[in-house]
C-alpha cells in the first residue's frame, strides 16, 4: 500500500534524492531506480566532508579522552591511531549504575565503536533519534579526537 502511494507521489515530487536502501533484502523497484539516477549527488557531498576534516597524526599513537560523568556513570574512550587512521577504539574506563550497565555495555558501546571506526575521524559528537546512552561515549571520543588533531 505504502509503496503504491510513493509511486504516485514520486511523480509529483521533484528534487528529492533517493540515496540508498538501508535494508537490501527489501529493496523495491522504485528505490533501485532512484539510487542509480542520483548516486552522483550523494558521492560529491561526502567527498567534500572528508576533505574538510583535519588529518589524524601518522602515529602510532594512543590517546584517551576525558573521563566523562554522564549522570549514570563514568566512561573514558581510548583511540589508537596508526598511519593517519583510527585502528581501534576501546573503553579505557567504564563504570555505570547497575540498571544502565547492561544496556550500555552490551548494546550501545560495541556498536558505536564500530560506527566510529567506519566514520574514520569524522567526529560525530552526538546522535539524533537515539537515547542518552551514546552521549558519554561520543563526548569522550570527541575529546580524544580533539587531542589527536591538536585542538
Amino acid at each position: 500500500m505504502i509503496r503504491r502511494a510513493f509511486t504516485v507521489l514520486g511523480a509529483m515530487v521533484v528534487g528529492l534524492l533517493g540515496i540508498l536502501t538501508l535494508y537490501p533484502r527489501a529493496k523495491s523497484q522504485l528505490s533501485a531506480a532512484s539510487v542509480n539516477k542520483n548516486h552522483g549527488g550523494s558521492k560529491s557531498s561526502s567527498q567534500k566532508a572528508a576533505a574538510a576534516s583535519a588529518p589524524l597524526p601518522v602515529g602510532p599513537v594512543s590517546v584517551t579522552g576525558p573521563l566523562t560523568n554522564y549522570g549514570f556513570g563514568d566512561i573514558a574512550v581510548k583511540v589508537d591511531v596508526a598511519n593517519h587512521k583510527i585502528v581501534d577504539i576501546s573503553i579505557a574506563k567504564f563504570q555505570a549504575l547497575e540498571a544502565y550497565s547492561i544496556e550500555i555495555e552490551q548494546a550501545a558501546v560495541p556498536s558505536l565503536r564500530a560506527e566510529a571506526l567506519k566514520a574514520q575521524g569524522l567526529p560525530i559528537g552526538i546522535v539524533t533519534g537515539a537515547t542518552y546512552t551514546s552521549q558519554g561515549f561520543a563526548y569522550s571520543l570527541q575529546g580524544a579526537l580533539n587531542k589527536l588533531k591538536g585542538k
Binding site: G15, L16, L17, I19, S34, K118, G125, V127, G129, T131
Partner: protein, 243 residues
C-alpha cells in the same frame, strides 16, 4: 561541562563551554535549567492529571499561562507549515502538544545556557538537538531499525530532530486517517520545536511533506520508508553510512 537531566519520560543532556566558568557556577546553571524543565513538564504533561494541558483536555477552562498560550500558537503554526500533517488536535483525547513541547523545552534550555554566557552549547532533548555553535557539528542519524547504528551524518549549528515509529510511546497518527508515510524522519534547522514537529509530520505524511519542507530555505530533511529506502532533500547529509 556535561550534565544529564531525566525528565519528560526521556533524558535531556546539556553540554556547554564558556571561558573561566567555575564548577559551582556550572552546577548552578544546570540546576536553573532543571527547574525550568520541571516547570514546563508540570504545565504540559498529559501524564500529570493536574497539569494545565490535562485541565484543558478535560474542558476545565480557566485562565491560561503565558507558556500555554505560546505553545498553543506554535502548534497552530506547525500545523500550517506541515499542511496539517502535524496536528496536536487530531490525537485521541484531544489537544496534546507533547510533540512540540520537548523541542520547545530544548530551545528554552539552550537559551538559558546562552544567556549565562556559554560560547558553545548543545542541548540533546532525548535525541532532538538544539545547538549554539559557530562551527557546524556532525550529528549521527540513528539507524531506524537498530538503535546502536547510524544510517547517515548531517551537519548543523542550529537544530536537528528525528521522529520514528521505533520511539517509546510513539503515537503518530495521519490526520487524514490514511497509512503513515515514513518509518522515520529527520529534519535539520531551527527552531528545534518546528524541526521536531515537521519530523513528526513527515512520518505521518511521507514524501509529500518532505517536499513541502524542501521549499523552505530554513529546513532540510530526510526520511526512511518502511522498506528502508532513505530519501533526502539535496544538501541534507554530509555522508551516508552503508552497511
Amino acid at each position: 561541562m556535561l550534565a544529564e537531566i531525566p525528565i519528560m519520560g526521556t533524558v535531556f543532556t546539556l553540554e556547554f563551554e564558556g571561558d573561566g566558568r567555575a564548577q559551582s557556577e556550572s552546577s548552578a546553571l544546570v540546576a536553573e535549567v532543571t527547574n525550568e524543565l520541571e516547570r514546563i513538564d508540570r504545565t504540559f504533561s498529559t501524564y500529570r492529571t493536574n497539569s494545565e494541558v490535562s485541565h484543558f483536555r478535560r474542558h476545565e477552562h480557566g485562565t491560561h499561562s503565558e507558556s500555554f498560550d505560546e505553545v498553543f500558537a506554535l502548534c497552530e503554526l506547525a500545523r500550517e507549515l506541515s499542511d496539517g500533517f502535524f496536528d496536536p488536535w487530531a490525537v485521541p483525547g484531544g489537544y496534546d502538544p507533547s510533540g512540540l513541547v520537548k523541542g520547545w523545552a530544548g530551545e528554552r534550555a539552550l537559551a538559558l545556557l546562552i544567556d549565562a554566557g556559554a560560547e558553545r552549547a548543545v542541548v540533546n532533548a532525548g535525541g532532538d538537538i538544539a545547538i549554539h555553535s559557530a562551527e557546524p557539528i556532525n550529528i549521527g542519524v540513528r539507524h531506524p531499525r537498530e538503535a546502536d547504528r547510524l544510517c547517515a551524518v548531517v551537519q548543523s549549528n542550529t537544530a536537528v530532530a528525528t521522529s520514528g515509529l521505533y520511539e517509546r510511546g510513539c503515537h503518530i497518527v495521519n490526520p487524514l486517517g490514511a497509512e503513515l508515510g515514513a518509518y522515520a524522519a529527520t529534519v535539520v534547522g531551527a527552531p528545534l520545536y518546528l524541526a521536531d514537529a515537521l519530523a513528526t509530520a513527515v512520518v505521518a505524511g511521507g514524501e509529500q511533506v518532505l517536499a513541502k519542507i524542501a521549499q523552505q530555505r530554513q529546513f532540510r530533511g530526510l526520511l526512511v520508508t518502511v522498506d528502508g529506502v532513505l530519501r533526502a532533500i539535496p544538501g541534507t547529509m554530509v555522508t551516508v553510512i552503508q552497511t
